[in-house]
């Protein structure tokens, strides 16, 4: 009888312990397991010392304080915004961050985004207290250092790509000094403008350039219209002259030919031809005209005439 009691008592405590153990495990399961997603890595410290880096999966661990676990995504692209802040529904411009001096003591307004990923997860967790804030602060410093060594026109126009790559190189070298464990993937100068206070004046320069081009173009259009037209008129003038020449020479030749033919004919019978021609002319000319036939004595004595009457009524 006593043996049975002993057995049941022992088994009771055993089951009790097992139940408590299972309950504790379920309640504190987080202290014994952790999940690493596919884009993540986990760093485990055992008794404070680095023990292992683990990848994707459900992982076993010892509860703190025996083991500590740090997990972060190593493929997620992290962003730092300088000069603006993305807010719900758009972005908010931050003048303090965006306005900066250029090498020729002008002021420019820049919005920049930096994209980076964790390269070394141990460094990322163990070397710097504020790795992400560090990227932001170093990014600002790099941006202003590079912009500060360039003239404003270079920043606004052709050297933008070169400046971007200079900033990236500078920033990467700074964070490498800090052993941040991070790689800068890309730097983009998204907005590069003259400050709002002067933007009108800058735009006007562009407009003035266009005005100049317009004026020159319309002058050239005038020239390109005028010169060919003048050449055309000139051509025409010469052609007219040549036409005149052709006509004149032809006329002359015609007249000369006619005279020569007439003259040849006349040569065969001179006086007869002359008389014939004379009479033919008279017969053509005299009919129909008022004529006064003078009779009277003597040669050519002209009687007094009433010239008004002779003039006739017209």
């Amino acid at each position: 009888m006593a043996e049975d009691q002993k057995m049941s008592a022992a088994s009771k405590t055993l089951t009790g312990v097992i139940i408590v153990g299972v309950v504790l495990l379920l309640v504190f399961y987080k202290s014994f397991f952790f999940t690493v997603e596919s884009d993540q890595l986990g760093v485990v410290l055992r008794f404070g010392e680095y023990s292992r880096t683990v990848g994707q999966g459900l992982r076993l661990r010892m509860p703190p304080p025996f083991e500590n676990v740090f997990i972060a995504s190593v493929t997620k692209i992290r962003r730092v915004e300088v000069g603006y802040q993305t807010v719900r529904g758009g972005k908010r411009h931050i003048d303090k961050e965006a306005l900066m001096l250029t090498g020729d003591e002008n002021i420019v307004d820049i919005e920049m985004v930096v994209q980076y990923v964790i390269k070394d997860i141990k460094d990322y967790f163990f070397t710097n207290l504020d790795p992400d804030l560090t990227v932001k602060v170093a990014a600002e410093a790099s941006l202003r250092a590079i912009v500060g060594s360039n003239a404003i026109d270079d920043v606004l126009t052709d050297k933008r790509a070169a400046i971007q790559s200079d900033i990236q190189i500078e920033l990467q070298s700074i964070i490498d000094v800090y052993k941040l464990g991070v790689t800068i993937q890309q730097i983009q100068l998204q907005e590069v403008h003259p400050p709002k206070a002067v933007i009108e004046a800058f735009k006007d320069v562009q407009r003035a350039k266009e005005d100049k081009e317009t004026k020159v173009n319309s002058a050239m259009a005038y020239r390109n219209d005028l010169v060919p037209r003048s050449k055309g008129a000139a051509e025409q003038k010469i052609l007219e002259a040549e036409g005149y020449k052709a006509k004149r020479v032809a006329e002359a030749r015609g007249d000369a030919e006619r005279f020569i033919k007439l003259h040849d004919k006349y040569k065969t019978a001179k006086s007869i031809t002359k008389q014939r021609m004379y009479y033919e002319t008279m017969m053509k000319v005299l009919p129909g005209k008022k004529k006064y036939m003078l009779s009277g004595e003597g040669n050519g004595t002209l009687n007094l005439l009433n010239l008004d009457k002779i003039g006739g009524s017209k």
């Binding site: 020729d104 005028l226 000139a234 003038k237 040549e242 002319t281």
Partner: protein, 283 residues
């Protein structure tokens, strides 16, 4: 039976309590100084599990990682009597926790002390340089020098200054407007230049075009006149060649033609009685 259990549990608890007060872990991001009654006993800068005397000894934990401090900007005069508003940040870490404990004691206190130290170093350096150089040329060497000098001064605090860097260097607000004014004036000048160049160039092109037109037309007119002259000359030659065959006959023919033209319907003819034409009539 029960007594055994009670003793076991109690001793386990006691053991646990003692353990909790003596065992401690130094992680990768910590360094620990153990003091006994205020006296430094042990320093741990490497991670691991360690033990200390409970109640008698105190554990002081300091960060091992690089700390960043970014305080408010300061207005600093330059060599050429101009002012720059400089916002710098610094990166430092505790390398000797004992020295740090003795001098700075807390992180915030250290941050303030370091900021003052660094600020005076920067001010000293910038005071020897011109504003335009600071902005454009010597930023790197300034930061390098300031980092080295500040680092030297910080060694006694057990601190290693990793980097001092200028985050922003701007003109004071009052000067900003002056810069904007100057920028506007420069651009206005540029715009005016473009526009007047446009006028000048276009007028030149138009003038050249007009001149070219005049030359072309003048040339054409001259050529035309020459051709016309040639035409007249050639015609005259042709006439002459023909008519000089017999100038009298030409005279006669021409007279006949003239009569046909001259004697029109308004002509009144007075024919004398000795007219050659009418001699047969008057016989």
């Amino acid at each position: 039976m029960k007594k055994v259990y009670i003793v076991l549990i109690v001793s386990a608890l006691v053991f646990l309590i003692v353990l909790l007060n003596t065992a401690f872990v130094v992680t990768e991001i910590e360094q620990v100084v153990i003091t006994r009654f205020g006296k430094i006993k042990k320093v741990y800068t490497e991670p691991g599990l360690n033990f200390m005397l409970p109640f008698v000894e105190t554990k002081h934990v300091y960060p091992k990682r690089i700390i960043m401090v970014d305080k408010a900007p300061n207005k600093i005069p330059t060599a050429d009597k101009k002012y720059l508003v400089v916002d710098n940040y610094s990166k430092w870490k505790i390398v000797d926790p004992v020295k740090f404990k003795n001098t700075m004691i807390t992180i915030p206190a250290a941050a303030q002390r370091l900021d003052d130290l660094i600020f005076s170093t920067i001010r000293e350096d910038l005071g020897t340089r011109n504003l335009s150089d600071i902005i454009a040329k010597t930023r790197d060497s300034i930061m390098h020098i300031v980092t080295l000098e500040s680092a030297q001064k910080a060694v006694e605090f057990g601190i290693e200054i990793v980097d001092v860097r200028i985050k922003r260097a701007d003109l004071p607000k009052e000067n900003e407007e002056a810069v904007f004014k100057r920028m506007r004036a420069e651009r206005r000048k540029e715009a005016n230049q473009y526009r007047s160049e446009g006028d000048e160039d276009s007028l030149k092109i138009i003038a050249h075009a007009d001149k070219e037109k005049a030359i072309i037309l003048a040339g054409a007119y001259e050529k035309a006149r020459i051709i016309e002259g040639e035409a007249d000359g050639e015609a005259t030659q042709i006439y002459a060649r023909a008519f000089t065959r017999d100038p009298d006959f030409y005279n006669f023919v021409k007279a006949m033609e003239a009569y046909e033209t001259i004697i029109d319907t308004s002509t009144v003819l007075v024919i004398p009685n000795d007219s050659k034409l009418m001699r047969h009539f008057y016989k």
